[in-house]
């Protein structure tokens, strides 16, 4: 029931922030309407970081505690993170074309490291299909999830460390947290979209976790059934 309420609140918040982002907030003086893409683009990128961070932390917890619930959380984070990374890339491409003149440039460190992040976690999801043994699968996935998370700070700080097309962080860089490089009406809308997307993320994480747990429990039951059948099939001595 609480999850349903969260889902309803998230749906309302995302719908409201979409209307605000598209129609209520004024267009940027320099970039015009194209700047409106910033709200879902940055929110998606933030949730990609959060999702993969959760996957890495859950992977560490699985390796430490050997509790398969952590693996279910890790899987939820990876799948949802892949979706938000794809959204961030798509939003960035749609914003880049009218502002930079190109959809994509491989020489840009932010774009390339983000594409790498997407590839790493798609690989993580594919890796999970290589074995039916839940514990072996969880261990392999945890190692890949932790190693792949190294790319998260590289993606985030790439705009500070190297030159490229992508602008530096609007509010996420250490010297700009209290002094954002954008008018407060834009920052407020961005924070509103971040909040709305984070609510949606919370709802999706809970639902994906529930699905992952149900799948593992069904796998375990099937494995026990197979063991029991094999035992009863053996001739009595």
């Amino acid at each position: 029931m609480k999850t349903r309420i969260l889902g309803f609140v998230a749906l309302t918040a995302v719908a409201a922030m979409t209307v605000i982002g598209l129609f209520v907030v004024p267009a940027d003086l320099n970039q015009g309407d194209a700047q409106r893409i910033m709200y879902p683009h940055v929110a998606s990128a933030w949730l990609a970081y959060l999702s993969f961070g959760v996957t890495a932390a859950s992977g560490i917890l699985w390796l430490w505690k050997r509790d398969l619930r952590f693996d279910a959380v890790a899987l939820a984070g990876a799948e949802i993170g892949v979706m938000f990374t794809a959204f961030a890339i798509w939003g960035g491409m749609m914003w880049g074309r009218p502002i930079w003149g190109v959809f994509w440039q491989w020489e840009d460190p932010r774009l390339t490291t983000t594409a790498l992040l997407l590839a790493l976690y798609v690989g993580y999801l594919l890796l999970r299909h290589l074995t039916d043994d839940p514990e072996r699968r969880a261990t392999r996935a945890a190692i890949v999830g932790v190693v792949a998370a190294v790319d998260i700070p590289i993606v985030h700080f790439s705009v500070e460390w190297w030159r490229g097309l992508h602008q530096t962080a609007t509010i996420g860089s250490p010297d700009r947290v209290l002094n954002p490089a954008a008018p407060m009406v834009f920052v407020g809308t961005l924070l509103g979209m971040l909040g709305a997307f984070t609510l949606a993320w919370g709802y999706l994480m809970i639902r994906r976790y529930q699905l992952a747990r149900a799948d593992v429990q069904r796998e375990e039951a099937a494995r026990l059934d197979r063991l029991m059948s094999a035992r009863t099939a053996q001739p009595a001595r």
Binding site: G7, V14, T18, G21, L22, G32, D33, A34, R36, I37, P40, H41, S44, M83, A86, F87, W90, G91, M94, W95, R97, P98, A200, Y203, L204, R207, R208, Q210, L211, A214, D215, R218, A221
Partner: protein, 40 residues
């Protein structure tokens, strides 16, 4: 395409994708619960 076209395309894919994923996840979860009920 105009700036507005890029904005609409970006929002349509992101918000639409979020909605579609939610719907598919909800259906997967319902199917999973249905299989559990059948097994019982």
């Amino acid at each position: 395409m105009t700036d507005a076209g890029y904005v609409i395309t970006a929002y349509a894919v992101i918000i639409g994708g979020l909605g579609l994923y939610t719907l598919l996840l909800w259906r997967r979860l319902r199917a999973s619960r249905g299989r559990d009920d059948e097994a019982r």
